[in-house]
Assembly symmetry: C2
Homo-oligomer: 92 residues x 2
């Protein structure tokens, strides 16, 4: 898997990431992975659904996995943050 | 699947839903499904991860699926909202 096919979901609007997903799929014509942490998880699901419903109808969700990471918070302590990865591919 | 084993994630704190998940698993000793829409999706992932990491270590995520629903908005129009369902079970 090419690193270029991972789309990290952050604070930009949903459509910005939809565009990134479609660009990734145009270049590689294969698979794209959406990665998000914390509150961006909801947005990752929105991006997946918007691309699938409005732009690329043969896009299928291959796998979704969730996990926990430890991140250092501003006060120096460690805190747990959930993440999601949604792997999608143009299906047959 | 018993209706009682579906936990709908809303505006309560994460721990409230963790408790609901653990209660559901105690009664049925089988499977529980977390359902969430929109911004509660991130919280659903948090609930799944907190229960798995801190309370029930043999809990496994069996399946995660995402979808889109049409809901009527306050101004009477329809809008799309993403949802997630996370199905979890004890053991193998």
């Amino acid at each position: 898997m090419d690193q270029g096919n991972i789309v990290y979901i952050g604070r930009k609007p949903v459509m910005a990431y939809c565009l990134a997903v479609m660009t990734a799929l145009k270049h590689e014509d294969s698979e794209v992975i959406l990665m998000a942490r914390g509150r961006a998880i909801s947005k990752a699901v929105d991006v997946a659904e918007v691309v699938r419903n409005q732009f690329i109808s043969d896009l299928v969700v291959k796998d979704i996995s969730i996990d926990t990471e430890q991140l250092e918070s501003e006060d120096g302590g460690m805190r747990n943050i959930s993440n999601i990865s949604i792997s999608m591919a143009k299906g047959k």
